[in-house]
């Protein structure tokens, strides 16, 4: 019983209770006896009705009544009156049960069952619902039943929408009403029902309505969640769009098989070290999509026949949909400096790319880049020297003005038709209005959801403006809001921290100037910084999560050490990554390293000083592909031979992560799980490993 304190019963009450228990027990046994003997007489029906009146949760009794109805129907002679009375009796039983407990699943379902038999006084049902919903406007059984009846009688969604308006107007704090409103409105907008198109007009009215709710009682959550939904409707792009790619649009990519760089004119932003004969072509969408293949994306170049190309979704859980897709193109081997090999990528010219929510990629677009190959002078040896991440090995990268801009986005690619233009103008205007309104509200009261909403509005504004301005106007204000929120609302500080990290990364990657502050050349500590080893150093930024990866696809060496990362979701898109430092973070399990499985180029990995093995509960376990979620099969028998005498079952998480990687250098010290047994296990399953925790292997 919810909300009632427990007390010891008084002696008189105890005696009465025992008597009641005996009565109930005998009623229940009597009922069960009738049920098993299939006795459907009036007396038997009485017994079941009495039982359900006092104990509507006794589900077998509802089953019995249904059987009794079917029995009586088969006996009666299709006389409409007697059929009607049979059903009426059932409805009465339901009503009396609901009096006892109006949240009884069994009772509500029985009513639906009766109604679906065809006996219906719909008006009566609606009146009943009105009564229940007045008693408790949040009773979700009643709302569900309402939906059921409305469907049965083909009541229009517009009428139902009006009902939610009435409920909301009588009490703003009715989350159930707002929820139903969001469902009905979504359907009406999606089907472009007359009176609900264009959506801008409808949404403006909704903003008016929800403003009233929020400003009347800013602490009540109902209006705020609806507001969040409205904001989403305002800002989101339904159709999938291409957001970025690597190689980037209009770039000149230079493939180097060399370790030695004698040409200082080469920019690290558009060179790529490879000795595999291929380079990746990565496309990054704004949402997860399926259907990317050589028919839906065509790649024209002399390097490859389009039909040969297979596109792979970069999903960490074997899902066929992903936000990022990759294919591999050949590059030529040359003796002298090559000419440019142009590559043109066309996407969306034939349908087939479709988002998880069912929207088609509909903006045909093209982008092109050029590939240059260089002759090999000194081939890259296998393994090479050990990479050190110490500060002394890095020097800030000095850029030249002619350098390509790594932060270019593909938004300009997305052709906007007239419809889109008025749409985006309305969007910008609406967001601006809302921002002004909330800044005013927050100047008077300090309200947590208000601040969070304002932060979201400001971010939305920046996102809408970003293609043109390429600058985050509001990011300082947003960062401050999140800092405020961490003090104002400590239980949710992890969430605010994550949002803070995302905003910070957006800020850093928004302009060339800001990004270059974090770009360093990596060398061996001597004065000469050989080669093109550029490292993006994002350490000591208190990052709890990664973001803006669509702008970082060019990164080959990444230092994320000394942050607070619990997960590295999104990192799977960084297909060029060969050196990664994740030391001194808060990674709690091998499963958190799931994204690394897709980084085939990864050679150097530092995960030292994390918390792998420190916690008995692995919170990222189900987010990655694993045998536990039936998406990964480990052949325990066959794989035993690979791992020798080690019990695979003890290290399956490490096995799943590391078996596909060709690492040459690994640092794992400083994790509770990193004992000698694990280390020798890893050496066995990663045969390419040359350096482990700073020591050379033989």
């Amino acid at each position: 019983m919810h909300g009632r304190p427990r007390k010891d019963p008084k002696p008189e009450d105890a005696a009465a209770s025992v008597a009641k228990a005996e009565k109930l027990r005998s009623l229940q046994s009597q009922f069960l006896s009738n049920h098993h003997k299939k006795i459907y007489t009036n007396e038997a029906l009485e017994v079941s009705a009495k039982l359900l009146e006092v104990n509507p949760e006794y589900y077998t009794a509802w089953n019995f009544r249904k059987l009794a109805v079917e029995h009586r129907l088969s006996q009666s002679d299709s006389d409409p009156d007697s059929i009607k009375s049979i059903f009426s009796e059932e409805l009465k039983v339901v009503e009396s049960a609901l009096k006892q407990n109006f949240k009884s699943y069994g009772a509500w379902h029985h009513r639906k069952w009766v109604l679906s038999k065809g006996h219906s006084s719909i008006d009566h049902e609606m009146r009943l619902l009105d009564r229940y919903q007045k008693l408790d406007p949040r009773n979700f059984h009643a709302w569900d039943y309402r939906r059921f009846v409305a469907a049965l009688m083909n009541r229009s969604e517009v009428d139902e929408l009006r009902y939610t308006t009435d409920m909301i107007n009588s009490n703003f704090s009715n989350y159930s009403a707002w929820h139903n409103r969001s469902i009905l409105l979504s359907n009406l907008l999606q089907r472009k029902v007359q009176g609900f198109f264009p959506k801008e007009v409808v949404l403006n009215e909704e903003y008016e309505l929800v403003h009233q709710a929020i400003f009347t009682d800013p602490d009540d959550q109902s209006g705020w969640f609806y507001y969040l939904w409205l904001l989403d409707q305002t800002v989101k792009a339904d159709a999938p769009l291409l957001v970025s790619s690597w190689p980037a649009r209009d770039s000149n990519l230079i493939i180097l098989e060399d370790q030695c760089l004698d040409d200082c004119a080469l920019s690290p932003f558009n060179t790529f070290h490879s000795d595999s004969g291929t380079f990746p072509l990565i496309v990054y969408f704004n949402q997860a999509v399926e259907g990317v293949n050589s028919s839906t994306i065509s790649v024209e170049s002399v390097l490859n026949a389009n039909s040969e190309l297979t596109w792979k979704p970069l999903s960490t859980n074997n899902s066929p949909a992903a936000q990022v897709w990759v294919t591999y193109l050949n590059y030529p081997k040359v003796d002298v400096h090559s000419e440019a090999y142009p590559v043109e990528v066309s996407i969306g010219h034939s349908g087939g790319i479709i988002s998880s929510s069912g929207f088609h990629y509909s903006h045909p677009s093209r982008f092109a880049f050029k590939v240059f190959a260089r002759p090999v002078k000194t081939p890259i040896g296998h393994g090479g020297d050990i990479i050190s991440w110490q500060d002394g090995n890095f020097a800030l990268y000095e850029t030249s003005p002619e350098e390509p801009n790594p932060t270019i986005s593909l938004d300009q690619l997305n052709i906007k038709d007239d419809n889109e233009k008025t749409s985006s103008e309305w969007r910008a205007e609406t967001i601006a209005n809302e921002i002004a309104l909330f800044q005013e509200l927050l100047s008077e009261i300090s309200c947590k959801i208000g601040k969070l909403t304002l932060a979201r509005l400001l971010k939305a504004r920046d996102l809408l403006l970003s293609p043109c301005a390429n600058k985050m106007v509001y990011s300082e204000e947003v960062i401050n809001l999140y800092s405020d929120l961490r003090t104002l609302d400590p239980p949710h500080s992890q969430f605010y921290k994550d949002e803070h990290s995302l905003t910070l990364l957006q800020q850093i990657t928004s302009t060339r100037e800001s990004l270059l502050r974090y770009c360093f050349l990596h060398g061996d500590g001597t004065s000469s910084f050989i080669g093109n080893s550029m490292c993006l150093r994002l350490n000591n930024l208190s990052l709890s999560r990664m973001g803006s990866i669509e702008r970082l696809l060019w990164v080959q060496m990444l230092d994320l050490s000394h942050n607070e990362l619990r997960s590295i979701e999104g990192l799977e898109a960084m297909q060029l990554l060969s050196c990664l430092n994740l030391s001194n973070n808060k990674l709690c399990g091998f499963t958190a390293l799931g994204p690394l499985r897709l980084l085939k180029s990864l050679k150097v990995l530092d995960i030292s000083c994390n918390q792998i093995g420190s916690h008995s509960i692995d919170t990222t376990r189900y987010l990655c592909s694993s045998p536990l979620c039936h998406t990964e099969e480990i052949d325990w028998g066959r794989d035993e031979t690979v791992t020798g005498d080690v019990n695979l079952a003890n290290y399956w998480e490490a096995f799943v992560i590391f078996r596909g990687l060709s690492l040459t250098q690994l640092d794992i010290v400083g994790n509770a799980v990193a004992d000698e047994k694990l280390k020798s296990f890893l050496v066995k399953i990663v045969p390419t490993l040359k350096w482990l925790d700073g020591g050379e292997l033989h």
Binding site: H2, G3, S17, V18, K20, A21, L24, R25, L32, H36, E57, Y58, Y59, T60, W62, N63, K66, Y105, H109, W113, R138, F140, W143, D144, R147, Y175, S176, H179, N180, S182, I183, S186, D220, Q221, S222, F225, L228, W229, D232, A288, S315, N317, N318, S319, A321, S356, P491, H492, F495, D498, R566, S567, T619, T620, Y622, L623, S625, C629, H630, T631
Partner: protein, 233 residues
């Protein structure tokens, strides 16, 4: 912070098991199978599963099974998917899954899947995402997920996703923490967590914690002593 009074909890659970004749026990005898699972799981977590008579429990569980393969809440009660899961879970706790006719139980559950991927609770047709979770959980324990249409089961659950990131009992149903536990659990078991907007749902769930520290099931409702577990980080 104090320590958990484990011994007292164990005694309480054992006493409830013996108590069958007071009003509350009689009124709830139709869900004894659920109660047994909750009590036994608690004992197992406290490392005291051996304090109950395994054979007695197992034979009682098996007496609740029907010809259809499903289990009722108690002896003589009709079969339902709710109690079928609890029965299988209890047997799994005791490592006694071998007493089951796995085919029979699997068939019972598989037959409850509807065309749209949803699951009914029993032959009378009530549909609810709770039952989807139950079916997937049960078949996962029995390693028989191949007997149902998992893809359709997942897409039905996704169709119950709401605009606040949560899940309801049926399409259009309001988000409720209990339903969310079931839906998220089902998606986790089938490796389909990518369908969830983690940030949105995570936020909604965190908002369930009220000032007193307790958790409510939905916005603007009172906190409940029904702990809301979910598999999220």
């Amino acid at each position: 912070m104090g320590e958990l009074a484990a011994e007292k909890h164990v005694q309480y659970i054992l006493s409830v098991e013996k108590r069958k004749d007071d009003l509350i026990s009689v009124a709830m005898e139709h869900l004894r199978m659920n109660g047994a699972y909750w009590g036994l799981t608690t004992l197992d977590l406290l490392g005291k599963l051996e304090t109950v008579d395994v054979d007695e429990v197992v034979s009682w569980v098996m007496e609740c099974q029907h010809e259809s393969g499903g289990y009722g809440g108690n002896i003589g009660h009709d079969p339902h998917i709710l109690y079928t899961l609890s029965a299988v879970q209890i047997l799994a706790l005791f490592d006694k899954l071998n007493v089951l006719d796995v085919e029979k139980v699997t068939n019972y559950i598989a037959q409850l899947q509807n065309q749209d991927g949803s699951f009914s609770g029993d032959i009378w047709g009530e549909v609810d995402t709770r039952f989807s979770y139950i079916a997937l959980c049960c078949l996962s324990i029995l390693h028989r997920l191949d007997k149902i249409n998992v893809e359709k089961a997942v897409s039905y659950i996704v169709s119950c996703k709401n605009l606040d990131g949560g899940f309801g009992s049926t399409p259009g149903g309001e988000s409720h923490a209990g339903q969310i536990f079931c839906c998220v659990g089902a998606l986790a078991i089938t490796g389909s967590l990518h369908h969830i907007d983690k940030d949105l749902l995570g936020w909604w769930l965190c908002e369930r914690q009220v000032k007193s520290g307790g958790l409510n099931g939905r916005p603007e409702k009172l906190p409940d002593d029904f702990p809301i577990l979910n598999i999220q980080d």
